[in-house]
Amino acid sequence: MKIHKDHQRFRQIVKGKIREDLRKFLTRGELLGREGKRIISIPIRGIQTPHFRYGDNNDGGVGSGEGKPGDQVGEGDGPGGTEEGRHITEVEVSLDELADILGEELQLPRIKPRGKQRITSEKDRYSGVRQTGPESLRHFRRTFRRALRRQIIAGTYNPDDPRIVFERRDKMYRSWKTVLKPQSNAVIVYMMDVSGSMGDEQKELVRLEAFWIDAWLRRNYEGIESRYIVHDVRAGEVDRETFYHLREDGGTRISSAFRCAKALLENSYPADEWNIYMFHFSDGDNSSEADSRECCKLLKENLLPQCNMFGYCQVASAYGSGNFINVLHEHLPDEEEMVTSRVNGKDDIYDSIKAFFSKGK
């Protein structure tokens, strides 16, 4: 087909092989997916040729539905489009599919679990429907539709009293296929700096980044456990909810978090049974040089030898000096397990994910 030439050319531009001049117009995140209740933008590359257009200081828009003044409008994207005569519907995607899209877009290799070949485990995946099954697997929507249809055809449907009664032959059940998967477990330890300089904006970035880290690792491992550690000058383990919402004041001593993580691993996650991932989010403003040195020592001697990867993600903040990333580069130049990235805004998240996982570890 002719379009393939155009497509090939587009891919080459995106990869930076030709037409360097267009690279500054690259955009991302056009596709909107829905995972549970949240709408997620999926990184898909595009090139936007510049036009004269209005800036963002306009007066909002018009929507329809319920809502009082002050209520939040869904994370919609402005007025309806102006595409030519065609119609596109929006459907829900599973987390697995999202991770696949992410993986393909960022060209991430599948992760090879380290260590011995693991035992293969069986896993059931729902893949279709059938007419028999346990009630707990009844597919309500399909069943309802069949019953409604049967009643309309039989003439027993009354629009004024729309009661739908299922019969045995209406019922549809989910059916599954058993797939074999290598069993391997992983634990993700998230560490975050909650000192005064990490504001809501920074936390939102961390949350988004952690969402994608989670999605990608879950796609690659059977069992995933997540643990959360927060720190300012002291560190402690918290639950997920607290992790994202806790706000402390005061200074930063990163080594405290590393010490806490070390204890956690020693107690619960021996390295020969677990694939260990550690991510540390901070604005990089450590309190003292001495502590930074202490951090490097902890990393080199205790943490890095144990884990598949240690990811350090430095979030831009108005206050922090952001020096910690440089300290890491300086003191631990050749550590393969350590990957660092900087995130200044939402657009950097995908690059950061790519940096973390592009080695397939």
């Binding site: 050319r9 209005y54 003044p69 596109i88 599919e97």
Partner: protein
């Protein structure tokens, strides 16, 4: 490449066309092609055409559509091309009931394309024309090389919105005609035909003299000016004035022609989709649904019309407003007496029991006739301006939203009718695109190009404007300037081919030959109700 239409589908296509004609629809012959998903994605990426010129933007669109489909994020149901004969595409793995719905929908679009005034100037042989464009551009690729042609197309595409959609329907002053070359070409004041004894009333002397003066002044003003008046069709201005090689001029012309072809589709999105949805609904529920298809039909119909927060679904808005108009004209809810009625109860019950029961009311009802008239003369802006009522806004639960500066979230502001209407009209007017005019092609007598934005309350995006200015400079060759208003301060953006500068505009800067204030569009004023 195409899969043949099955006998069943062919018969349905004919029957549905008959139903549509019996309801008064009037469309060009319509050819249905059955395509696989991948083919649909390709054709959709080409904007509905089987042949387009080579360009990466089609590849980009194709990738987006393919991804969207692969991950279950969306599926294209129908696609129609405004052409004579009309071409429409069916997806080969759709159920028969879906195909029937699409056919009925397509005949609705076909009728709209053929009869709506805003489409009257579009090329009805665009299928062939697009293929010609493709061939010509391929030839240039062979002659001067892909990279060169592609770069130039990129430049042109970045300017494709700088056209004057209304110019299709009126005779704008041709650039040079304002300055008469020979005395006999001089324009004279309009004289209406009148019998001798009526002449001094129909063509009063002082009126005639005033008009003569205006013409003289215009001619005097226009001397040495290029353009003689602010010109919105910047692509045309560039075509006529920029130093282009023949292949470049041809490509710029092609981009301009295609932009004009697609422009009415943008201007009538709500009406066009509303009209097509109105007809697929009417035809399906009255003529073609079998009992067992009903559920599937309803599910897909309601999916098409679904609303989501923060977005207006053109299908939904269009069909509801058309039905509202039909209902109003069937129950006499129009005219002075109705407009002046302030008792909400009385308005709500106006004409009750007068119109035929239910929504489907046959071809001859006044409501049906009215919507046929509406589809002939209106575009989205005039459609909403004329027919949006407080009752409708209330029924459809429309609200006005904007960004809350404190939290950055989009929040509902209010449900005030005037605000909603004003906002909707603003979003639709000129496609929510800024108004940019060519003001002077010989600025400071140095052959520099001077553009101006007519500011209607919203500032330009600076980053994009500067990049676009570079595109124009590439075509113009000499430095280009853009007069824009940022934060209520007039700023002159300049790009001279090497670097961009900006400065505040004050008296020390020489003025261009024309000013935006002399342009043809009135300033944004509060809309009267």
């Amino acid at each position: 490449m195409f899969i043949a239409l099955t006998t069943e589908l062919r018969e349905w296509a004919e029957r549905i066309a008959e139903f549509a004609r019996s309801e008064g629809l009037d469309f060009y012959d319509t050819i249905f092609e059955v395509l696989t998903v991948d083919q649909v994605n390709q054709v959709a990426a080409y904007g509905g055409f089987p042949q387009r010129y080579p360009h990466w933007k089609f590849g980009m669109e194709y990738e987006r559509l393919r991804k969207q489909h692969t991950y279950g994020l969306g599926k294209i149901y129908e696609m129609v091309i405004n052409n004579d004969p009309c071409y429409a595409y069916l997806l080969n793995d759709n159920a028969v009931v879906d195909q029937k719905t699409v056919m009925a929908h397509v005949y609705g679009h076909g009728d709209f394309f053929k009869n709506n005034t805003w489409f009257s100037k579009t090329n009805r042989k665009m299928m062939d024309e697009m293929a010609n464009h493709a061939t010509r551009i391929r030839r240039y690729v062979e002659r001067v090389g892909l990279e060169k042609v592609e770069c130039f197309i990129d430049t042109c595409l970045s300017l494709e919105n700088l056209i004057d959609p209304h110019s299709q329907f009126m005779r704008r002053e041709s650039p040079r005609s304002a300055v008469p070359r020979r005395p006999e070409d001089k324009k004279v004041a309009t004289r209406f035909p009148a019998k001798a004894y009526m002449d001094r009333y129909i063509n009063p002397a002082e009126q005639m003299a005033a008009e003569e003066r205006e013409i003289d002044e215009a001619a005097h003003d226009a001397v040495g000016k290029n353009p003689p008046a602010p010109q919105r069709d910047i692509l045309l201005f560039l075509l006529e004035n920029a130093p282009l090689e023949d292949w470049q001029a041809d490509i710029l012309g092609i981009v301009r022609e295609e932009a004009y072809y697609f422009s009415p589709q943008g201007q009538t999105k709500i009406m066009n989709e509303g009209w097509a949805s109105y007809w697929h609904s009417t035809i399906m529920t009255n003529y073609c649904l079998r009992d067992e298809e009903l559920i599937t039909y309803c599910e897909h119909h309601s999916g098409t019309l679904a609303t989501s927060p923060g977005r207006l679904n053109p299908y939904k808005l269009g069909i509801e407003l058309l039905r509202d108009i039909e209902q109003r004209w069937n129950t006499g809810r129009y005219g002075l007496e109705y407009e002046q009625c302030e008792d909400m109860d009385e308005r709500r019950n106006w004409g009750k029991g007068k119109g035929p029961k239910g929504r489907v009311v046959g071809c001859d009802s006044p409501g049906r006739q009215k919507i046929f008239d509406v589809r002939k003369t209106h575009n989205d802006v005039t459609f909403l301006d004329e027919f949006l009522t407080p009752e409708f806004v209330d029924d459809q639960k429309l609200y006005h939203y904007r960004q809350d500066p404190a939290t950055g979230r989009m929040v509902v502001v209010d449900r005030d009718f005037r605000r909603i209407k004003q906002q909707m009209l603003f979003m639709l007017t000129n496609h929510a695109q800024p108004y940019i005019y060519a003001l002077d092609g010989n600025y400071r007598n140095r052959g520099e190009l001077y553009l101006g934005q007519r500011h209607v309350g919203v500032d330009l995006d600076i980053k994009y404007s500067v990049e676009t200015l570079k595109s124009i400079q590439q075509i113009w060759g000499r430095p280009v300037h853009l007069h824009a208003v940022i934060d209520e301060t007039p700023i002159l953006f300049t790009y001279d081919g090497e670097q961009g500068t900006q400065q505040q505009i004050d008296e020390s800067l020489p003025a261009p030959a024309n000013s935006v204030d002399g342009s043809d569009i009135p300033k944004r004023e509060p809309i009267g109700f």
